[in-house]
Chain length 469, copies 4
């Protein structure tokens, strides 16, 4: 599947934080963000605090493009937070890049946010009535304004009061005074975990970032918990009571890196199990199991092993696909998908093929892949999907296509099968998915429309503050 | 003199605004800023409003570098404001570039500011107590926060209340709702004038910008006045009562473009008269009058004509000096100034020379120029300065060197003469300068320390909010 | 394995050519190069001919970075050639980017070259005696000088005479007059194949480029053959007699894309067979077979299937590794390899693991990977390599490390095992490799030092013309 | 006048060379080129030799843009040459940037060239018959091919033989073996002078570059002379016999920097004298003499002084004109010229004005300036030109407009006056110009069509090798 493609849900952000006086906190944050790059490729930023002043460097592009060695060296301090952001059309602005750094009555503060608030508009309006001005269209600015308004109290109290106002999914890292904070919403929609290096602590959206910098995994931040990291080490402050856990199932299905472990479950293992569930639900007599690389691979291997069918590389990915390329003309329109994936004829010829992907959003790419595999000589193509049909938008931090473009809103499964041109099509069942995940407390709203957190204010769809150019 | 050099006072900003539905307001603003480029080369920005939404494009560098044709075309609307900013060390940040655009309770607003507030810290502190957060270190953000806080009232009332809070020098252009505002502080420290194109109006820091876009000069904005430009044309609102006018004398001496006319006095004419005053105060028997190009030229011509001494180009300026160049090594340290100016031996040889410059700040460049002219064969070098000695810092929008680096704080005139190595040195007297300007209501604080506007809060010197990297 | 890493042999180039009047030949060449990007990431270039004039655009970087849509649109003509080049340290110069375009007595000519001449120095010297000057350090300039010197004859005759002078490995595409030429050296060291689109023909280093633009594979260019493509279609001219075929085995082992088919053998299939041969030579009782991604994957799947051991993703590759990143400090030196690959603990824990890679050059990365896999909990790590030990430099177009840095020149297999820290180490045998490839006519010089083409002049090692900065 | 404008003849190049072991020759060359930047703004390059190897850095843009400190530091050696090139439309290519560096039979050589050959096509054709290939469209490549072909002889002999083949105007600096050469064509069309620093020597197109690096002017290279600079110092080798000296008059009129002295005549002094000659030929009863800045200033001062009329700055130049700006729309077409020059109303109002410029090429800008000055209130505008009418193209290194676009080919003087809208128009006479220059041995071909060097091969106009993109 296309990591740079246009037909997948998109994660909005990754965050990282570290408290480590006498170490190069900016450099460690850089490597942490590097490992989280799959969570956002639009912009990257690092804020470093010496306990008083906060310095910031951010820019558009990949972590490796935004930061020079000089940039990292010049960010000196004892603690840091970092952020990578994904590019949604239309609001891809430097002004919206994070972390957000502000001066306020008590000094400076920096915040980085992964997730999405469902009551951001109401909160903005209320803050505006008291004279607040906003320079960006990101939720982080709302959150930071709430914190500063509650700041007559202690910082911890201000954070709790802020959490009481917020609705939606959020994982936050915050630099304030001489402490680093990590906060996860009470439903635990977005991931955030704690690592340890020597006697210092760090925070990351995924454990792969801890591995990369050589930190040891400690535990996940609990839903509703406020974690404080400072000179004394790690403390947990009661934030909000954890409510029904509603971790995003799509993190396992597609977003998270296979080598990350979230809530005790390794991502690649969860995908392998989805393949096994697919094998249980839909065993097919085939000569070859193949994946749409790279995210379908683990499921395909699970399926192949479960049924004893050989696994093969039926689609080869171009490892040098840039983030942009010159668009093919209409006459060359087939070139587009082939720049990224090519069918491997010698593997496919005369085979009955099971092809496994993680999801179908609009279906356009899927239909091209099926055609490509058939043209390469496959006798049959059975298409298996390791997620249920995506039929509802996400309001907690994932950018799926607009609802009317979701193919699962246009056709039933047989219609989708016809559209993509496969000989058969099977989506994993919700039950199968839950079995694979070994839990029932995940958010499946994009599959079944049951939203665990109210979303009233966003009925009209998009945040209407997207008016900056 | 060196437009890119390090030994001159520096203007902080230039502003432009236009209300002209059905015209390319962004393009006209671009040309206006182009003509005001001498007022700031660090960053440039244009904000365009359609009466509801405001789009912004800004960047580091010259106007011609920041804007592509595509950028200008994509900024559509019925009114626009623009800003050029000068690079002060340490706060040369994109975040600090203007115009500043905000969302607030009543919609959007954009503001561009030339000048400096003397009570910015107090205002920030007070706003902070009410929960305000600041993302930049510029005064504009303070002003815009005041306006939005007073905005329960009508916008005009909010502006008047804001002006009552502000102390210092400021010329503002503001886009709000479907109107364009122009405001000048009650002392009229910074310039702002009104132009007319057909039945539409525009605002600019200097009249040369009006000439450039083909607008007709109407009048200066009065000190303390609020000018409103909208569909109905031009209106004047009483702002604050004009107090003792204190227009910045350095605008005439050095900053403003020679072809601009400010408060009825043409800048190049004012400089010519300074030369005549110098001739009256200090007539020298010489063979040649020359200028330190380009800003000393008009004074030198005035002096030469008054005394009937030939004017010649004794120093030739390299017209292709870039804003940066590779620093000479210690062994080549004389190269630095010669990259910009070279003595023209054939003009200077065996001559008794009067060399005229507009000011001496630290004196280092002046001493090199005197030496260069002498090495080229001048028998005598008499150095005349068309401003009094600069001995005090400016708090109203000009960046002079720090006080202890001002040569006039280290030596008396004879000491300075010795330092620069001239055969004689004469500064115009304050009386002479005032005679040349034909007025007594100008600010001469940087010469005599008499500050027309209180500056208490900035005693310690620099704004201590300069903590962003 | 690291596509961007420093411890692998490096291919020097990929070439593409197309003759297709009335089609967008530059755009098709762009897509062809895009598919060949793995053969060279340093620079890219496209030359387009209208039969008379030749226009060129080239630059440093990836194809997607070098060409804008505007660049491609402005390259108009009826035929084109393109080139991607790999970055060797020290000669990474725009001047050395290809295609090379020259004016000569009969008009213009453009040439792109993949391979390396072994008698380039002698040819340069001889040409120099006749007054030739060289502006680059690339062999292509030698070749083009030879062609123009023989050009009193027909172009075909000049090409044959040139081939008689050349020694080494070369695959050439040439634009001259109104024809496109494709030439492969008599040993067929480097690949070059022919494709067909409608009634037009194209040439490419690998068949994956034909797939990408939607061309049909016709056949490989024969060793020693000159292929002429023009208005009349495709013609074969006798070039030099094919001698002992000596196709580069490393193209199968590592360089070529898995979906390419060269000399009737699919690359991914060849790798799968190498895995089967490894299983035959060295069956290990293990719990898990894993690959060093991505190039070891096909071999590992072959091995796993042959022995019925589960295949798993024990190392996860960061899919967003940029071509550059900030170097870790000494204290963080372990971070380097983990930025690219991370061990997947949940897959590896308590397993006896077979890890398969395509080759070991210096061994430094291998030892880190073994350690990483062990740290993740693997009980045993058996390291299998799908190539024999690399002990000799290549003189035909591959950049291996310098001979003294090749680990196979420092240790025997047991010593290497100890160095990388594996429990056992097995390299495929030459016989096993040949069996997998189904042929004996491949070049194995880098394994056994038997060079099929004389290399006398390059004894001293590097081309000493690398003197440009 | 517009240094960046489109309506002036254009110099093609500036060259610099220095031999100074143990000094930073690249840095000194950088400063030399910086001082010669007015001779070419398209590209810049520096080649440095250690006596054996030659390293090169070149790029598009100004000297200050092309070279970073790192670039200069990395160019190590004992001698260097440098080149700045002007941008002619269509051949503005990096490939055409100089110096040109080649490998040839005897080692390496670097060459930089100012001027134009009139028999380049014939020489290319002859070289091509012997198999030479050309990678650029610049004359320098022809010259270097000749030198290498003659190189069986000693280098000096090869240079003399090459000079015997060359026709046209050329000033060359060459690095070869361990010597630096300076060569000027037998007519001395282009300038080249010698400087001394301690016991080391350097070469430069103009003496202002010597001043800038602190070198002492020694003398001009003689027409036809070969100057050799090496460890022993400076030597003169007989090159070709000097023929009728034909130094380019336009160097004095417009190109050269005012502070340069060429053939014993200071450039600014020569311009002052042109003004005096204009006063003699055409004394006008006026209230103000003004220049089109900057190149008309010296002449205007000469004129004003001669007639006792006040000189004033009637046109003010925008000192921050970038090399590119966004084009005005048709409706704003008057903006273009006003971005660069603005009339200074207060100086011009109700005056009878003499406006002096150095030349009129197409006349479009002149007519706008006259109109602008009149609109600013001038009662009369008398337009005086310090060159005779430009009616013929230059073939020796200057890019004037195409012949049919030269206004002097479309109208007589009265017609031109009418076109530009002046009250009177006077061009200096050839006699007056020669009187000002104090010599008769200058090239006046662009005024009178008498070409001192044959130009047969270029009858058709442009060099038809301009086919590279």
């Amino acid at each position: 599947m296309f990591e740079f493609g246009e037909d997948k849900p998109k994660e909005e952000c990754g965050v990282f934080g570290i408290y480590a006086p006498n170490q190069e906190v900016a450099r460690l944050t850089y490597y942490g963000l590097y490992a989280l790059q799959h969570r956002g490729q639009e912009s990257a930023g690092i804020a470093v605090s010496d306990g008083h002043n906060i310095a910031l460097h951010k820019g558009m592009g990949l972590v490796s493009e935004v930061f020079s060695d000089q940039d990292v060296v010049s960010l000196k301090g004892k603690m840091a937070i970092g952020h990578v952001r994904y590019s949604t059309t239309g609001s891809s602005l430097l002004a919206n890049a994070q972390p957000l750094v502000v001066h306020y009555q008590k000094g400076m503060m920096a915040l980085a946010h992964n997730g999405n608030l469902t009551n951001a508009l109401e909160l903005r309006e209320e803050l505006g009535k008291n004279g607040a001005v906003f320079q960006t269209t990101i939720d982080s600015e709302v959150i930071i304004n709430l914190v500063t308004r509650y700041r007559r109290d202690s910082l911890e109290d201000a954070l709790v009061k802020t959490m009481m106002d917020l609705r939606g999914g959020y994982a936050l890292v915050i630099l304030a005074e001489d402490r680093l904070f990590g906060i996860r919403d009470p439903h635990g929609v977005r991931p955030l975990c704690i690592g340890k290096m020597g006697d210092r602590y760090c925070l990351a959206s995924e454990s792969c970032a801890l591995d990369t910098i050589g930190a040891e995994f400690v535990r996940d931040v609990e839903p509703g918990e406020i974690v404080v990291i400072d000179e004394e080490g790690l403390h947990s402050r009661p934030g909000l009571a954890k409510v029904e856990h509603a971790f995003c199932a799509f993190e396992y299905i597609y977003f998270a890196r296979p080598d990350s472990t979230i809530d005790q479950l390794n991502v690649s293992e969860s995908r392998r199990r989805m393949g096994i569930e697919l094998a249980r639900e839909c065993p097919i007599e085939a000569d070859l199991v193949m994946a749409v690389p790279d995210s379908g691979t683990a499921s395909a291997l699970g399926y192949a092993t479960a049924l004893g069918i050989p696994f093969g590389e039926g689609l080869i990915k171009n490892r040098y696909v840039g983030r942009t390329f010159i668009q093919p003309t209409q006459a060359m329109r087939e070139v587009g998908v082939r720049l990224k994936l090519n069918a491997n004829t010698s593997v496919l010829k005369d085979k009955r093929v099971v092809m496994i992907d993680d999801s179908i959003v609009r279906g356009t790419t899927s239909s091209k892949l099926v055609e490509m595999v058939k043209n390469a000589g496959a006798k049959e193509v059975h298409f298996l999907i390791s997620s249920p049909p995506v039929a509802y938008p996400c309001f907690y931090g994932i950018d799926t296509a607009e609802r009317e473009k979701l193919i699962a809103n246009q056709f039933d499964v047989e219609g989708i099968r016809e559209f993509v041109g496969a000989d058969s099509l099977h989506y994993i069942s919700e039950e199968g998915l839950l079995r694979a995940l070994g839990t029932t407390t995940v958010c499946l709203a994009c599959f079944n429309g049951t939203y665990p957190i109210p979303i009233s204010s966003l009925k009209q769809g998009k945040n209407n503050f997207e008016t900056f150019n």
